[in-house]
């Protein structure tokens, strides 16, 4: 699903229950990471749940390839939104993305971030750090 499609879905969410349901559905649709890729190195530090993230650059196309997984439904759903935001972007484009703002626009910050934004900040920081080396 593209980020635009996700945006359309969540933007008009009538209730937090509905938002959560959509987020968990997004998580379900994100393919599970094969076990060998769930390495300690791929773990994002600073999340309350376990998150694995791999970031690659397609050298020819100069665009980003991200895959990831989480052991919780909610974080996996949120992760799939982050992946949709960044996948296929060039490093320069990626640096322009303000993921936190996007989450705010989706109405997710208020309901989803009693503590540390569910590790979303940690995920986004990890991506930005990696990408800045390619930009």
């Amino acid at each position: 699903m593209t980020y635009q499609e996700i945006y359309t879905k969540l933007e008009k969410s009538p209730s937090w229950q509905h938002s959560y349901r959509e987020i968990m559905l997004l998580g379900k649709q994100l393919p599970a990471l094969p076990e060998p890729l769930k390495t300690e190195q791929a773990r994002v530090k600073g999340c309350e749940s376990t998150v694995w993230l791999h970031i690659d650059l397609d050298e020819q196309q100069q665009h980003l390839l991200l895959v990831g997984d989480s052991d919780t439904r909610i974080v996996k759903g949120l992760l799939s939104i982050v992946l949709a935001l960044y996948n296929g972007k060039t490093p320069m484009q990626a640096l322009e993305i303000n993921a936190y703002k996007e989450f705010e626009k989706l109405g997710l910050i208020k309901h989803l971030s009693p503590s540390r934004g569910n590790g979303i900040k940690a995920i986004v920081d990890t991506i930005q750090q990696q990408v800045s080396q390619w930009a």
Binding site: W16, Q17, R21, M24, E48, D71, R73, P114, N118
Partner: protein
């Protein structure tokens, strides 16, 4: 108990809404809410009586010192021990560290420090460090698949390992289990051990009589028993307590100081360097007054009844598994739902205004033993009622529906 409705009104934090729902506070194991009387006592100190203790000759300082020392006496009466045996610390964690550090010279290679598999990290790591410093061995009394310590097996374990130090929680923070500390302490002492009981969870719910319990050390945190944060207690039998070396040094705790030599005061003063947490002590004094004014037996019975109601309602949900000792319990229920991650459920519960704790609860070794990555923990206090339990159960069933929907 009919006047719970009345008591509940004393807790201002309970009167708020979270995410549009009335707050359902089921995380008293992490910290208890505070009655207005405690908040007022802290307030009064800062608005009227603020002064340092044990220092000035002026009126305010004398008032502060008198009040501060009166709370120590109040606490001692509450625990049925002597005021000289009660040290103010910053919390249970500080208290345990003080003892573990102080025992360094009394242990040597091969000595056994015995703890249990359900201890809080605060009652594991200081002992592990003590073992590393001294060459002593850290040994563990195991729990069964529900997370329960079998008392007979524990006594046999104590007999077998002949510990130099025995440390055990009075009640488990993760599961709520009440340990048979009376028997464990007697056995360990018979074999010559120094005993410490971690009462961080039990103090509020069980109001232990330490003269009867007869342990050498008992620790607690004021904030888990209606009091302010940043204050704890170390009780120690006077000779053993006073024999511990000083832990931190500075003002207040000294007798004489020159640049070549310092002599220290006797316990408890020698363990209380610097300016203490005066406002918290006064607040805790108000908490003890508050507890003293409520009939304990009736309150205990009420809490137990509420706990049984919680367990019964939890167990009526298909797929819920409750861990721990469901008979001897301070009112804490730790559970999982099928293979669902505790994080998802706790997040959804929060959206319904329900405050629970999720995760490993600072007991990672216990989680490893139970083969879990975490649980959801509901911890009750006397200010909770059946409406709280009902609201929690309905939020839980809704959350499960959302997850499975």
């Amino acid at each position: 108990m009919s006047d719970i409705t009345q008591l509940r009104k004393d807790f201002p934090t309970l009167k708020q809404t979270i995410e549009g729902h009335p707050l359902v506070y089921l995380d008293s194991g992490a910290t208890s809410q505070k009655p207005q009387a405690v908040i007022d006592a802290v307030n009064l100190f800062y608005t009227k009586n603020n002064a340092n203790v044990h220092r000035g000759l002026h009126t305010l300082s004398e008032v502060a010192t008198t009040q501060y020392e009166k709370v120590r006496e109040k606490l001692a009466r509450f625990l049925d021990v002597n005021a000289m045996e009660c040290v103010w610390t910053s919390g249970a964690t500080h208290s345990i560290n003080l003892v573990a550090a102080g025992l360094t010279s009394q242990l040597s290679t091969g000595d056994v420090i015995l703890i249990t598999a359900l201890e809080h990290h605060a009652n594991i790591v200081p002992w592990q460090q003590l073992a590393a410093r001294t060459g002593a061995k850290l040994e563990i009394i195991s729990v069964d698949e529900h997370g329960v310590i079998n008392s007979d097996l524990a006594l046999a374990e104590i007999q077998k390992s002949k510990p130099k130090v025995f440390a055990c929680s009075h009640a488990s923070n993760t599961l709520g289990n009440i340990q048979d500390v009376q028997a464990f302490v007697a056995k360990a002492k018979e074999l010559g051990a120094i005993t410490l009981v971690d009462g961080a969870q039990a103090f509020l719910h069980l109001r232990p009589n330490l003269r009867q319990l007869d342990c050498d050390f008992y620790v607690l945190s004021a904030h888990k028993a209606l009091g302010p944060t940043g204050l704890g207690v170390l009780y120690g039998k006077y000779e053993l307590l006073n024999a511990l070396p000083v832990y931190q040094t500075g003002g207040e705790m000294i007798d004489t100081v020159s640049f070549t030599k310092t002599t220290f005061r006797q316990a408890p003063a020698k363990f209380e360097p610097g300016t203490p947490n005066i406002s918290a002590v006064l607040g805790f004094g108000a908490a003890l007054d508050y507890l003293n004014a409520i009939n304990f037996d009736a309150l205990h019975q009420y809490e137990q009844g509420l706990y049984q109601y919680l367990i019964q309602r939890l167990q009526s949900i298909d797929g819920i598994k409750v861990y721990g000792d469901l008979k001897n319990n301070i009112g804490t229920a730790s559970f999982t739902y099928k293979n669902e991650h505790h994080y998802d459920l706790a997040m959804l519960l929060n959206s319904y205004g329900v405050a629970v704790r999720s995760g490993h609860h600072c007991t990672q070794p216990l989680m490893q033993t139970l083969n879990l990555n975490g649980t959801i923990r509901v911890s009750l206090a006397f200010y909770n009622n059946r409406c709280d339990v009902d609201a929690f159960i309905s939020a839980l069933t809704n959350s499960i529906e959302l997850i499975e929907g």
